[in-house]
């Protein structure tokens, strides 16, 4: 739930040259190193503003709705984070999510397939698209910007083709519909909360014990307690809010599990390390023997598959796939979210957690403006402004790093 544990985990030992303290923390904030903390501050400001502007914004019902609204875009953003870490971009994720939703709907409604095969086919469609786009981009050395821009158009066409004359397919299969409309009761929620807090504590303590056994420097105990405590508090608070409404939405669980899974892949596996390496210095990665194009292609497969997953979730929430599925501002929001949360457009910097945190920020703005009955003209302009602000922050952070001789 919380994006807090992220940045600190990456640097288990505080750099000795910079004493921890409010001033150092502020400086880091400016440099964009504490991207996850920055996004929490932004989120707090947004929630405060909308909470004052509309009394129902912070209600349990609305916050639960918010989690349902962000499940799809957050899932798509996970893939976007991976692509951004490479220093690439995938403009086709919106269209792919729409196409995947349509494939699932078409198979379920027109062909009468059961839920699981229909969903699997949708995900496989995403994977194949990613494989195709990744292979074309790496083999022919075309910028992914162009390949996925072509994809954006082509997959939108494919969506219209799949939907056929009807234009809209209404979903009825409970197996599909329940994805976004299932809520777990109090007991399940609290078991999950206690379980995940226990897991976080255990991981922190075991990691600390291994480091101590190897006589490596340890993170200061107060910092560890603060980090774990903040994560636990966030989980408990989220659970309390969700339980006072309908309970824990399955769609949110799917999003959180995917975020944890891909954050682990990015931070704790060799493949994840290679993604960061390619994004940081492609030539260095190649010289060390990393098969750069293979890493790239796999990431594009993952991104398109995650986009397809998001499309399935969105179709399930809206109970339909139609011609505008995956269109509109979905693509921009899926990219803007992670960037707001500190994932660099220039590659190599950021965490998968940014997908969740960024989706919360973007979703909150959109949700709040809906509550306040803003015209879509205003909504578009505000969202555009937020995206520009986020990208500017990223660019400023990069300039400061360069000014500090740390490109």
């Amino acid at each position: 739930m919380s994006a807090l544990p992220s940045q600190v985990v990456a640097e288990p030992s505080a750099p000795s040259s910079e004493l921890p303290g409010p001033r150092a923390a502020l400086r880091k904030l400016g440099r964009g190193e504490l991207g996850s903390l920055r996004v929490l501050i932004v989120l707090a400001i947004i929630w405060t503003v909308f909470g004052i502007a509309h009394d129902r914004f912070l209600s349990a019902v609305n916050l639960t709705n918010l989690t349902l609204q962000i499940a799809a875009v957050g899932t798509i953003s996970i893939g976007v984070v991976l692509v951004l870490l490479l220093g690439e971009i995938d403009l086709s994720v919106g269209a792919v999510s729409g196409l995947a939703g349509a494939v699932m709907a078409s198979l379920s409604v027109k062909a009468g397939w059961p839920a699981v095969p229909a969903i699997s086919a949708a995900l496989a469609t995403g994977a194949l698209i990613g494989l195709f786009q990744g292979t074309v981009a790496t083999r022919l050395e075309i910028p992914t910007f162009v390949v996925t821009l072509a994809g954006l158009l082509a997959w939108q066409g494919a969506l219209l083709q799949v939907l056929g004359k009807t234009g809209t397919l209404n979903l009825t299969d409970p197996g599909i519909v329940n994805l976004a409309n299932t809520f777990y009761g109090d007991a399940v929620g609290w078991i999950l909360a206690v379980g995940s807090i226990a897991a976080i504590c255990a991981a922190a303590l075991l990691g600390r014990r291994r480091r101590a056994a190897a006589k490596l420097p340890l993170e200061p105990l107060p910092a560890l307690v603060l980090r774990v405590g903040a994560a636990a508090a966030a989980i408990v608070a989220a659970m309390a809010v969700l339980n006072s409404d309908r309970g824990v939405p399955l769609a949110l669980l799917i999003l959180v599990v995917l975020v944890v899974l891909f954050d682990t892949i990015a931070m704790r596996t060799g493949f994840g390390r290679h993604i960061y390496a390619v994004g940081g210095n492609e030539e260095a990665a190649r010289r060390s023997g990393i098969r750069v194009n293979r890493v790239r292609t796999i990431v594009f497969v993952l991104a398109s598959t995650l986009a397809a997953t998001g499309g399935v979730l969105e179709a399930s929430r809206l109970l339909a796939a139609n011609q505008s599925s995956g269109g509109g501002d979905l693509l921009l929001l899926a990219i803007a979210g992670p960037v707001i949360a500190g994932v660099s457009l220039f590659g190599g910097r950021g965490r998968v957690w940014g997908a969740l945190a960024g989706a919360l920020v973007i979703g909150s703005i959109s949700n709040g403006m809906d509550l306040l009955n803003f015209e879509s003209s205003v909504k578009f302009m505000v969202t555009g402004g937020v995206l520009l602000a986020a990208v500017s922050l990223d660019a400023i952070a990069r300039m400061r790093r360069r000014a500090h001789g740390r490109l």
């Binding site: 640097e11 288990p12 030992s13 750099p15 000795s16 040259s17 291994r210 480091r211 190897a214 006589k215 490596l216 682990t264 704790r268 596996t269 060799g270 390390r273 290679h274 960061y276 390496a277 994004g279 940081g280 210095n281 030539e283 260095a284 990665a285 190649r286 010289r287 060390s288 023997g289 990393i290 190599g348 910097r349 790093r401 500090h404 001789g405 740390r406 490109l407």
Partner: protein
């Protein structure tokens, strides 16, 4: 270590132990450009071989044929006595050749440990398991300590935050982790100040003391004479002699580089064999 090399021998092939690396008749073309012509080059274990020459002499081209970045078009390469064909960098790495290029090839966004272990990460629970950060950090600390690399404040710091000398040290140390037998350093001191240069040269000596063969490519003759055992000179893509790195040979080395002295004909390795 030892210096029983006869001065001005055409190649470094000594009578005693088999050279770690021995190259003969190396040819390399870049399109119509004949970049290397019948080049011979040899390095023994526990030896620092300086490789010098003017711009365009073929130094970079030659080390690329060793490191697999730009394989030779003709000629034979023996590594530890075995005839090999170096086709690509991975192949060279498997043989035990590690190259540290001028541009360092470090990932600025990764910390020291991440860079040292790039693509040879330690894992837990099997080869496909999670990264073992504790084991990597421990090894990194031990290695850096054993090389007495001072001034590396924290192995968990991003290399983006480090000075040129520190970054060079990280890049060279990387070569040691991969069980390298031959380390190629391309202009390791080019961008460094006096103190940092001294640190890097000290590190080069430690590599030699560990029994590694070191190829030191440099424009800076002072550095080469300080740390190298022998010096191979290239000129216009051909051998222009191999000399002991002793002050007495300084004039000859300079002459071989520039090709101005009458004693040494400007082209052809045969002529250096006087």
């Amino acid at each position: 270590m030892t210096r029983e090399v006869p001065g001005g021998a055409p190649t470094g092939a000594p009578a005693s132990p088999t050279p770690l690396l021995e190259m003969r008749g190396i040819e390399k073309y870049y399109g119509p450009v004949h970049a290397l012509t019948e080049v011979e080059f040899a390095v023994r274990a526990g030896e620092v071989m300086g490789l010098v020459g003017d711009n365009g002499a073929g130094k970079s081209t030659l080390i690329k044929t060793i490191s697999g970045v730009g394989p030779a078009d003709a000629g034979e390469i023996r590594f530890a006595g075995e005839l090999v064909r170096v086709r690509n960098p991975q192949h060279a790495a498997a043989l035990g050749v590690a190259a540290v290029y001028q541009d360092l090839a470090l990932c600025d966004n990764l910390d020291v440990v991440g860079n040292l272990f790039l693509n040879r990460e330690e894992r837990r629970w099997g080869r496909r398991g999670l990264l073992d950060e504790v084991a990597m950090e421990e090894q990194a600390r031990r290695l850096l300590e054993s090389l007495s690399i001072g001034g590396l404040p924290d192995v968990r710091r991003e290399v983006a935050t480090m000075s040129g000398g520190q970054r060079q040290s990280v890049a060279i140390t990387r070569a040691l982790l991969g069980e390298a037998k031959l380390v190629i350093l391309d202009e390791p001191t080019a961008a460094l100040g006096v103190v940092q240069t001294e640190q890097v040269l000290q590190l080069v000596r430690r590599l030699r003391d560990r029994g590694l063969g070191v190829v030191l490519v440099s424009h800076n003759l002072a550095d080469v004479f300080t740390v190298a055992d022998r010096i191979t000179v290239l000129r216009l893509g051909r051998n222009a002699g191999t000399f002991p790195a002793e002050p007495a040979f300084r004039q000859e080395v300079v002459a071989a580089i520039t090709g101005v002295t009458g004693d040494l004909a400007p082209t052809g390795s045969e002529d250096a064999d006087s």
